[in-house]
Structure formats: C-alpha cells, structure tokens
Amino acid sequence: MRQLFRNLLLLLCSLGVVSIARADDVKLDISSGATSRLPIRCVPLTPTGDKDARSTSTQADQVLADDLAHSAVFTVARSWDTSTDTADPQGIVGGKWTVTSTGITLAGEVRDPHQNKLILSVTYKGTRANWRRLAHQFADAVIQQFTGESGISSTRIAFVVRDGRTRELWIMDADGYDAHPLTHDKSLVLSPNFSPDGSLLAFTSYRGSGPQLWVMSLADAKPVLLSGRKGINACGTYSPDGRNIACTLSMDGNSEVYVLDARGGSPQRLTSSRGIDTAPSWAPTGRQIAFTSDRAGTPQVYVMDAEGTNPRRLTYDLDYTDSPAWSPKGDRIAFVARTNEGFDIYVCKPDGEGAIRVVSGGSNENPRWSPDARHLVFSSDRDGAKALWITDLDGTPPRKIDTGGRKALSPAWSPRPATIAP
C-alpha cells in the first residue's frame, strides 16, 4: 500500500514536471549537422541528512556534470572548478541531495539565469547503493528539457574483453562504471547485440562447438543456444520489432545473411553471392538491412530490402568498407573504411551520399550508435592497446572509456531503459 502511495506521488510529481517542461521548452536543432553546444553551469547539490550526505553529493556533482558534458548537447561550467567557466550559461543546474537511513533523494532544479526562473524541477529517490542512477536520471531530464529528447546517461554498453587467447562478454554503464563479465567460459565471444527492449543480449560464442549464436537474458546471464547449424553462426542482430534476428550462417556452403525468428528457427536466406556476406544491420524501420559483402572483390557495404531484394552498393568512393551500423534515427549509416593510414570510421546517408570521415588515426572498428544517435562507440588502438572510445560526431576529440586497462572491443550500446521514473 505504501508502495502504491509512493508511486501515485511520483506520478503526480512527473505530471507536474511535464507541464513545466512544456511551458518552457527550449529546443536545439541538432539535426542540421553544425552543432553548437549550449553553455550550462553546474553548481554543487546541497547535501542534507546524515553524515554520508556530503561525500556522496560531491560524487553526484561529478557524475551529473560529466553526463551533461558527455551528452554533446552542453558546454558545462562547473562552479567548483574555475577552469571550466563558460560565458552566458543558459541554465543553472543544481538541487538538494538528501541522504537518510532509508535512501537518497535528489531534488534537481534548473534555473534560467536571465529571468531567475525555475525551468525544471524533478525529484528522484533511490537506495544508497544506486545513487549514481539518480544523477543519471536527472542528467537525462535536463537534456530532455533542452532538446525535447531524453539523454543516454542511464544506458549501458556490452563489449568483449580479450585476455590472451580467450574472450568474454562484459557489460558496463555507458560512463564505464560497474564493468563486469557476463560469461566465464574461457572461450571466444564475438559481436554482442541487444534486443530492442534491452533485456537480452545475442552474441557469437565458441563455448559449444565452433561459432554458434547464443542469447542470454540480462536477468540471469544464462547463455541459451539460438543457432548451432553447421559452419558459422554469427552476427545475430535483432530486428527493431524484436521478432526476428538477422545473422550470418554458412550452412549452405559460404557465409550468407539470413533472417531467423527470435527463437533461432525458420531461417530465410537473404543473400546468395559466391563471396562473403555478413555483418547485417537493420534500418530502424525494419524494412532494409545494411551488410558487408566481398561479391565484387574487396569488402563493401551494401543495402538491401529486408526480403533480400534490391541489393546496392552503399558508396563507390572508398575501396574497402565494412561494419555498417544504421543510425537509430534512420538518417545515417556509420561504417569502417580502410585507408592508407589504417581503418577509419565514416558516416553517410542511407543512399551513400555525403560520406564524411568522423574518426581517423590507428585501427578503428565496430562503430555502434548511441540510442539518441548523437554518439558512436567504437574500438580502437589509437593510443596503444585496444580500448573503447566514444565520438560525439561534432569534431571534438574522441574520449576513451576507462575499462581498467582491459583490452576491450566489439561494443554494443543498449537502448534506453524501459522505465524511467518519474
């Protein structure tokens, strides 16, 4: 009953938030390409409650400011660090951080400094152990307030850790926190992919016999065999509606792209070339699939209808392209191109026009979009050992995700969590 009452309160509170947000919405046009970041200023949260309040609130200040800075929406000034000063901030972000024996409450606020008006007021409650989530939720609400779309601070990234000759599946928060393994097979893992609701991870593993397609629920992390057909079973990628899985199978002789149902059954072959066809990536409409094929000699990205019809080469400007990733907004495809210097990441429109290089230097692989399509995560050896990096696609240098010195590769970005309170 108490739970119900609290939920009702949260609901009422969230309704209030929505009305405030509508009244004062400030929208940025990010889609135009020429993105300029909005100056915003973070002031420390005011700690109240028990003796732990001050230390956790200082950490929450950092998480919140980092989330906002990494959103690619804002230039963030931190009032506690004068080196980050920014002129004319469009919002002042702060609030109260209350720690009690039962948990933590973050009462977040954004004020318009020009009119000294409250433009956002939200309250989040959580356990002490889960305090980072409160900061992430507030950051996402601030981003939503200024852009009309929630941020991606509460998302996660699955990836593969290489340790000598073995590879395990790992997962972490998008800011690199809470990295931990999901498999302990001392075998090989490749190409993880989330289901559209974020509850499942499909991946290739050699834990059985050769490369087979497996899936695990994040709730129990138990691998379940999806496809163990003869030869290669790899690159399992859920369709946007979660009903099908595009993948690579070689049961008919060489590698071809197939679509399976979500249980791994009723394979439908989409490609039939003498070369390699692999690495499928769905358009968010589910009506087209980008993939890699070397049917014309070198590997090239192609786009076909989801039934396998009308394959066409994405671009003729580059002589080696691979690893397509269709943006969740549908308007762009990221891919890897081999150049004289190494492997670079490019982005173009789905018709192949407007290709621009967004990451270069070293060997950059497996680009994957964030759910808001503002960022790409990729693996790179640009500063030595393989690690995961994020580019904000606006000309700022990519930033490395700290995975504790582990060799990290093959990232996959989760969708936003289904339930965001309030």
Binding site: R165, S217, V224, C235, G242, S250, D261, I276, T298, E365
Partner: protein, 176 residues
C-alpha cells in the same frame, strides 16, 4: 490451475522424482523453462544445453596423437586471400600423406587471419581458408569426417606485432 491442482501436481512430481533419485541423477533434472515475464517482449528461445566437448578417441597408432599432430605443418596465405599457393599445396601434400596413414585421427583445421579488418569479416575469411584446406585434403584421400574446420578469425594471433612480419605468420591454417 487452481491451488489444489498445483499441490496435486507437485505431489505427483515429487512421487515420480523419488525413485528416480535412486537410479539415475540425470532423470531428475527438470528442463529449464524460459522466464514467463518476457511473454510480450521478444520470445526467449528454448534453452539447449551446450554440447560437451567430445573426448578424443586415442588413435590406434604407434605414435601418440600429439606426435602426429606435431608433424602436420601449418600453411600460410596472402592478404585477404584463401588461395593455396604452390608452397602451401606442397605442405598439404605431405600433411595429407600423414593423415592418410593415420586414418583414425580426427583433427581440427583452424582457419586464422591477421588483425586487419573486422572480427566479422575475418571469421568468414578464416572459414574460407579452413574449408579450402579441408577440400584439398579430402581430394587426397583424407576422410572429410576426420577433419573439422573451425574459423578463428583474428582471435588467435601467433605474433602480436602490427607489421607484415607478424601478419604473414597469422594468416594461416593450422592443425590441432
């Protein structure tokens, strides 16, 4: 099912399970059921237990398995190629004679690539290399059933350098 029926079903299960404990542990293992919560989300596939690695039968030859495997030489490939060079063919001719003389020996034919290119593309390229070797050997009287091609892509480099000296060692098919 009402509660009485559930209780009855549980009782029946318990009675059935009791004698089973005595004869074989295998019989009491209930099949795993996918979580019911995900009904209206993407369906969870029926769990299938991972196949256990098959124990290698000892070959009835004078030499140990390892000693025979050691005699099988690795073949190397050009960049992005699955073509067997004349040098590779000569190596495989010798490998075929060894395998043909040890008909009970089962070997893994591991395809490998250098570090350039994606994991996904290299998995397929390494499969093509392994299959080429299997085809070549079976054409020389080695039983296909004794050869198991495994595509390792670029996951198992011999040399960790980032130059042709290392890459040329890693583009290979080796026996295990």
């Amino acid at each position: 099912m009402n509660p009485t029926n559930i209780r009855r079903a549980l009782l029946v299960l318990a009675v059935l399970a009791l004698p089973a404990v005595g004869c074989s542990k295998k019989n009491v293992k209930m099949p795993e059921v996918p979580p019911a919560k995900t009904e209206d989300k993407a369906p969870v596939p029926t769990p299938t237990p991972a196949p256990k690695p098959v124990e290698e039968a000892k070959p009835p030859v004078s030499e140990s398995r390892d000693a025979v495997i050691k005699q099988l030489r690795t073949v190397y490939f050009a960049l992005d190629s699955d073509v067997l060079t004349s040098e590779a063919q000569a190596v495989l001719d010798a490998d075929a004679r060894i395998l043909a003389a040890n008909t009970s020996l089962s070997v893994e034919v591991g395809g490998h690539c250098d570090e350039r290119g994606s994991e996904e593309y290299n998995t397929d390229l390494s499969a093509r290399r392994a299959n080429k070797v299997v085809d070549y050997l079976t054409a020389r009287n080695v039983a296909a059933s004794k050869l198991k091609p495994v595509p390792y892509g670029k996951t198992q480099p011999i040399a960790e350098g980032h130059d042709e000296a290392s890459w040329s060692q890693n583009r290979r098919v080796e026996f295990k």
